[in-house]
């Protein structure tokens, strides 16, 4: 600061070189006087109209605050979207891996085989809930234009599966539904309102058909529906 003021004094002297010696002496005195007052009373001199540290820069603070708010809002939205999409992708991949385990080579020879596969995909600490059911392609449900497997899933529980699901007698001669249900510890019940993914896969299922009083094992086309939710 001192050097800046000295430079100003010298420049002024050069400018006033045509003035008389007395004038120059006076002007030097004036500047020395001003310089000392600037040096020691700087605060007083520049505090004209000074509101305060923040108040003085209020116009420049507004864009800064706006930009920070904008940045953090967009950042929060992006992070939220990124997480939800990642979750969706993980859910899709999880469904694909379960479906691979369930359909095998796209053929089911018995309901016991289906239930065995169901047990094998129910992994401990699995982070998703799922339901899997098989419908016969020849089932009357497909004649209904408003058919929606989600309604059947919503109305099914482990002990009480929907009547629309394909059934077959197991090795103990008990009628069993092709229905698999896994709910993680503390998992929510399935509902249409929650975020879920559903997929369908074609499957060949060996069914028992009674012809002329005898049971025949025939392979029929079926559809396996799956629903996965968190």
């Amino acid at each position: 600061m001192y050097f800046v003021w000295m430079k100003k004094i010298l420049n002024f002297e050069f400018f006033n070189s045509k003035l008389s010696a007395l004038d120059r002496f006076n002007s030097k005195l004036f500047f020395l006087n001003k310089f000392s007052s600037k040096l020691f009373a700087l605060k007083r001199f520049s505090s004209k109209g000074f509101i305060g540290a923040i108040g003085d820069d209020l116009p420049s603070l507004i864009p800064i605050v706006v930009s920070l708010l904008l940045f953090f809002s967009i950042f929060a939205i992006t992070l939220n979207s990124y997480n939800s999409k990642n979750l969706e992708i993980r859910q899709e991949l999880s469904l694909l891996s379960i479906s691979r385990g369930m359909k095998g080579e796209s053929i089911l020879l018995s309901v016991d085989q289906f239930l065995d596969r169901c047990e094998s995909v129910k992994l401990k600490k699995y982070e998703y809930n799922f339901m899997i059911a098989v419908y016969s392609s020849e089932s009357d449900v497909f004649l209904d234009p408003n058919f929606d497997p989600i309604v059947d899933f919503q109305n099914s529980s482990l002990d009480d599966p929907s009547e629309n699901f394909l059934t077959k007698k197991d090795f103990e001669d008990e009628e069993q539904s092709f229905f698999c249900y896994y709910k993680k510890v503390g998992g929510t019940e399935f509902s249409r309102k929650i975020n879920y993914i559903t997929r369908a896969y074609p499957l060949a299922v060996q069914i028992t058909q009674k012809i002329n009083g005898e049971d025949y094992e025939l392979i029929s086309p079926s559809i396996m529906y799956m629903v996965v939710w968190r």
Binding site: K8, F12, F15, N16, L19, D23, N26, S27, F30, F31, D56, D57, P59, S60, L61, P63, I64, V66, S67, L68, L70, F71, I74, F75, I77, T78, S81, Y82, K85, N86, E88, I89, E92, L93, L96, E105, S106, I107, S136, S137, E138, F142, P145, R199, A200, Y201, P202, L203, A204, Q209, K210, I211, N212, Y216, L218, I219, S220, P221, I223, Y225
Partner: protein, 258 residues
């Protein structure tokens, strides 16, 4: 000091020095706002586009997987020998069922082409297997030799409007009906040339099947490609009933299930 010197001093050094500080800070903050706005725009576009490609790939993978599973199912299932589904089996009549693949092999061995019953059985089976998406997809199923230039069998399943209520192109309208065509085109590239470029994304599954001619008892058989191509229903002039039945490129006839 004279007046001129004082005026000069006050103008040049004091006034400018005091007034420019606020403007500079404001300009800096506007630059900062511009930079932040640019970053925010980038973040916003990232948020919108993130995962879209992965989801599209997963969907495409699922569609191909579905088509491949459909081909497997076709090779496993039983049908009645008259081409009907086993659900139409009369419980009082003797069993007249067989594997669909056996019917295909038998027809090739006897006549080197598919019989009417086998054609119906294939169409019925495909209809049953693709039931979850029956309203929204069209497809082609074919068996072709790797070495020859024609199809052993080509089936086209399309949707066509036969009335006035045709607003929905996806088959939800009551006037939009599913149609099956058995085609015998001369050139086996007809699908690649006339259908696939016009219908959008096509998901395909291919497999191999060995068929033997009964005249060549000792031969190991010839390899054939069996394929299913699925696409979202689209109104295309090339796939209209009139074009399919009259065009020599397709040479199709509608399958009558009655």
């Amino acid at each position: 000091m004279n007046k001129k010197g004082q005026e000069f001093f006050s103008k040049k050094f004091i006034k400018k020095d005091l007034n420019c500080r606020g403007q500079a800070a404001l300009m800096d903050s506007i630059f900062f706002l511009t930079i932040v706005a640019t970053i925010c725009t980038s973040l916003f576009f990232f948020a919108i586009n993130y995962g879209l490609q992965t989801s599209a790939q997963i969907d495409s993978f699922y569609s191909s997987d579905f088509a491949a599973d459909s081909l497997k199912v076709i090779s496993y299932i039983n049908v009645l020998r008259d081409g009907k589904s086993i659900s139409e089996l009369d419980p009082l009549e003797p069993v007249q069922s067989d594997y669909l693949l056996a019917l295909i092999k038998e027809d090739y061995a006897d006549k080197k082409k598919m019989s009417e019953e086998t054609t119906k059985a294939i169409a019925n089976t495909l209809g049953a297997v693709l039931k979850p998406f029956d309203n929204s997809i069209d497809y082609s199923f074919f068996i072709t030799s790797e070495s020859e230039n024609d199809f052993l069998f080509l089936l086209l399943a399309t949707h066509e409007c036969e009335g006035t209520d045709c607003l929905s192109a996806t088959g939800n309208s009551k006037d939009v009906k599913r149609k099956y065509f058995y085609c015998t085109p001369i050139d086996n590239t007809v699908l690649e040339k006339l259908v696939f470029p016009r219908v959008g994304q096509v998901d395909s599954a291919h497999g191999k099947v060995t068929l033997s001619d009964s005249a060549e008892r000792d031969s190991p058989g010839r390899p054939f490609v069996i394929a299913l191509n699925v696409w979202i229903t689209k109104s295309v002039p090339e796939l209209s009933t009139q074009n399919l039945e009259t065009s020599p490129d397709f040479n199709c006839s509608e399958i009558d299930f009655s």
